[in-house]
């Protein structure tokens, strides 16, 4: 194919793609709409689940010091003596216009309570992802390239071992060697707003490393499997017969076709990094959203629980949507569906 013909073909496909973008946009809108419905259902489930838990916030906060009169006074102050359905719709009406209300426990604005915590969670997740995603994709490619070699087996063994340990155990091991004995990194990662970015990266390194160790195996194995799966296809054989090197075959021909499953598993792991890191937060005293959610559930602070859960659910929905869009975008066959 001459260079000119190739360029013309590329131009044509862009023009054609431009006309066909419509279904993709439609899908995005559809999915966002469904996402809103999902959030609504999630909020109902969360609200009923917290209602079903024994005890309420008045009893939890007063704890051992609760008497029937003080609990009643506390409930009246918070409006908890009203029926649950009424309270739910009150909350929903507020949430519709973006007002998530105040924490029942300390009357702080939910937005200010959650804002900083959510930023911290995103920071840690982003930090871990920056290390983990390139690392696992490259390791996966290398493992596929040197399939069944000593290197492949070694990488598999190490990553599978680190995913098999519970994350708090990995965290404690890192603390023993890198904080207590080595004294290289701090044992706790308490961040605050007067820290520089460099300081924050330094203090959050151990939790980010822990999370990296926990998520790498999944993404690495998926990359390896997706590529190995494609290596049996006829077009790869064709490429090989042309005399291409194995590395070039994998990166140029196999990887683009393997992107969809890899993107999906990355999205899943990103969602985990945002929503599933409570244990790591506890061990490193990291002020993230997970700890806030656990505290709030224990205290039955329903307004905070609702807001945090909606954020988590929203993150899942958006990441899945993003994964689907990217899978379609990287696969012309899906883009030009008839």
């Amino acid at each position: 194919m001459s260079q000119f013909a190739r360029a013309e073909k590329a131009e044509a496909s862009v023009r054609k793609g431009g006309r066909d973008m419509h279904p993709l946009a439609k899908m995005v809108l559809q999915r966002l709409g469904l996402g809103l419905v999902t959030l609504f259902v999630v909020s109902i489930i969360i609200f009923s689940a917290v209602e079903l838990l024994p005890g309420d916030i008045a009893q939890q906060i007063l704890g051992q010091a609760a008497t029937p009169e003080t609990v009643a006074a506390f409930r009246a102050e918070l409006g908890l003596d009203r029926p649950p359905v009424e309270r739910y719709f009150d909350w929903l009406a507020g949430a519709m216009i973006g007002d998530f209300g105040q924490s029942l426990a300390n009357q702080r604005e939910i937005s200010s309570l959650i804002g900083g915590r959510f930023a911290n969670t995103l920071f840690l997740a982003g930090y871990a992802a920056m290390i983990a995603i390139p690392l696992s994709v490259i390791l996966g490619l290398l493992a596929a390239l040197y399939r069944n070699s000593f290197f492949d087996r070694f990488i598999n063994m190490v990553t599978l071992s680190s995913i098999s340990f519970p994350e708090f155990f990995v965290a404690y091991i890192l603390i023993v060697f890198l904080a207590v004995r080595g004294q290289v990194f701090p044992a706790i990662s308490s961040l605050n707003e007067d820290m520089s970015l460099l300081d924050m990266l330094y203090r959050a390194f151990l939790p980010a490393l822990t999370l990296t160790l926990v998520v790498t195996a999944h993404m690495m194995r998926m990359t390896r499997a997706a590529i190995i799966n494609l290596l049996a296809s006829p077009y790869i054989e064709m490429a090989r017969l042309k005399g291409m090197s194995q590395a070039r075959v994998i990166v140029k021909h196999a990887l683009p076709n393997a992107l969809a499953p890899i993107i999906n598993v990355i999205a899943l792991n990103l969602a985990y990094l945002v929503t599933g890191v409570v244990l790591v937060e506890v061990v490193f005293v990291y002020p993230g959203l997970g700890q806030l959610l656990v505290d709030s559930v224990a205290n039955r602070d329903i307004t905070v629980v609702q807001a945090s859960c909606l954020i988590f659910a929203g993150v899942y929905i958006l990441l899945n949507l993003l994964a689907d869009i990217l899978s379609i975008a990287t696969n012309p066959r899906l883009m030009h569906r008839k």
Partner: protein
């Protein structure tokens, strides 16, 4: 687990430290306090739901900060366990101990410059009184009939009946003095107090930052320039933070790992025998516990020594089935210690007309860390006396609202109180909200009232000793052990003799301790 081998360097460091200790009373114990430095503490019990409202205070960083640094009370408990005037200059009781006049210090200001007057004291106390309060101190202040001001610097408390220990009540951690609003209610939202520190930042469940006030009315308190309280609920994380020098002070050291923490050469363990105790209340108005012989059989079927050794790992002392600790003023020293005696237990069972006994015991580590182990140990020892204890493990979540006070036989925890009257009135008096054993002993209740208004200490001693005996022999509560308060610090901070009423110098370490750096 942190395993520290004794290498050569550590050995040298440890021996050097020992030599120092031998030369001085204790590291950082007697050195002169001086201004300056930063205090960083890792504290347990902090939660996102923490509020500055004193009505909701329990243990935790907010109370350390507010009661121990930002605000003052009318009185405070000193290292010897006495109630000393704090914001009050002098305290005068009437002859029947019913009317108490507190004369306030003049020239005390809140951190916004407003002078502290009797109106603020009254507003702060009324916050915990009345029908609509949610305060944990409500039942404590039921005894107060009226509070009135006598000028700007004098407050008169009228009690419903005499109470010789009223100055101790004023030291309660709920009863901090905060400014009054125009309408006479208390302004807790602004977080202002008369103490040596100002609340600079509060991120609930994460950290509290305090800065020193230069115009503090006490000249011999509040030494650090800045204080940072990190909320670290995980006990391993707390100990790691101390061991790696991220913080200088931690509270509640886990008894399981005290010996490991001790090996760090720059760490000092602070252990005080206080008033905290573990209890096992049984409903005395319900079969089979309504028979005093059944109660005595159970009390003899528990091996306290063994429990202190295994559950507390030696960091505590055995209890004698009454809630008064050696740290209390009228502790009955000569009262015979009850010991594990299966034969006596069998004897009492027989007296109750039983050959064997089956009881359900509800437990959970929410009551105290180790409550489940304690229950299992009790099951073992009681079986030797023909008592079959069925251990029911309840969920931690909601333990205080669903199990305690609801189940006939369960575990509970009390921090203890500085006075006998307070402890007894709170949990052992007839009709008390927290009388978790439903115990009603006429003689005990009479003595409680008589001792309360008695101002003569010798007469009170006799009465309180009899009450401890009644509690031990007739009461519905097994009190197997008293737990020590165990905290730890690095050698960067110094302090005087520690108060024994709570963790960390009676929760007052921020104001009382100083920097050694």
């Amino acid at each position: 687990m942190i395993d520290l081998k004794m290498n050569r360097r550590r050995f040298l460091a440890a021996t050097a430290a020992t030599a120092l200790v031998a030369g001085m009373p204790s590291l950082g114990y007697a050195a002169e306090p001086k201004k300056g430095g930063i205090l960083r503490a890792g504290l347990s019990g902090g939660s996102t739901s923490d509020s500055l409202d004193p009505a909701t205070y329990a243990a935790g960083p907010v109370v350390y900060a507010m009661m121990g640094a930002v605000c003052n009370n009318l009185t405070e408990i000193d290292a010897e366990g006495n109630a000393k005037p704090e914001l009050a200059e002098s305290i005068e009781p009437s002859a029947d101990a019913k009317t108490w006049t507190f004369t306030l210090h003049k020239g005390v200001t809140f951190s916004n410059g407003k002078a502290m007057t009797s109106a603020d004291v009254i507003a702060s106390y009324n916050h915990h009184r009345g029908k609509d309060t949610k305060s944990g101190a409500k039942s404590l202040l039921e005894q107060v009939a009226d509070i009135r001001a006598d000028g700007d610097h004098s407050v008169i408390f009228e009690l419903k009946s005499g109470n010789a220990d009223f100055p101790f009540v004023a030291a309660d951690y709920h009863l901090v003095i905060m400014p009054a609003k125009e309408d006479g209610s208390m302004d807790w939202q602004s977080g202002l107090g008369t103490g040596g520190y100002v609340l600079a930042a509060h991120d609930p469940g994460v950290r509290i930052k305090l800065t020193r006030r230069e115009d503090y009315w006490k000249s011999d308190r509040a030494w650090f320039d800045e204080v940072e309280l990190l909320h670290i609920n995980d006990s391993t994380a707390r100990q790691n933070a101390l061991a790696t020098g991220e913080v200088d002070v931690i509270d509640r050291v886990d008894t399981k790992t005290v010996h490991l923490l001790k090996r760090f050469p720059n760490v000092e363990i602070l252990e005080v025998t206080g008033t905290a105790h573990y209890t096992m209340p049984m409903f005395t108005d319900m079969a089979p516990f309504d028979d005093v012989n059944v109660r005595l059989a159970l009390k003899h079927g528990i091996d306290r020594e063994d429990m202190v050794r295994k559950v507390l790992r030696g960091h505590g002392r055995v209890g004698n089935d009454h809630p008064i600790a050696p740290a209390n003023r009228f502790f009955a020293k000569d009262l015979e210690q009850r010991v594990f005696d299966p034969d006596k237990a069998k004897f009492h069972l027989k007296k109750a007309g039983l050959t064997s006994l089956d009881v359900d015991l509800s437990t959970s580590n929410a009551a105290f860390n180790g409550a489940v182990d304690s229950a299992v140990l009790f099951k073992e020892t009681a079986s030797k006396a023909g008592i079959n204890v069925n251990v029911i493990r309840e969920p931690d979540d909601g333990y205080w609202s669903n199990v305690w006070l609801k189940k006939p036989f369960c575990f509970s925890y009390w921090n203890g109180r500085p006075t006998e009257d307070w402890m007894f009135s709170l949990v052992y008096a007839k009709g008390a909200d927290w009388n978790d054993a439903h115990w009603d002993n006429m003689r005990f209740n009479e003595l409680l009232l008589a001792a309360r208004s008695e101002l003569d200490d010798d007469k009170r001693r006799v009465m309180y000793e009899e009450m401890q005996m009644l509690c031990r022999d007739d009461g519905g509560t097994i009190i197997p052990m008293f737990a020590n308060y165990i905290d730890a610090r690095t050698n960067k901070v110094g302090h005087d003799k520690l108060a024994s009423n709570r963790f960390l110098d009676g929760w007052k370490f921020i104001e009382r301790w100083w920097s050694m750096a």
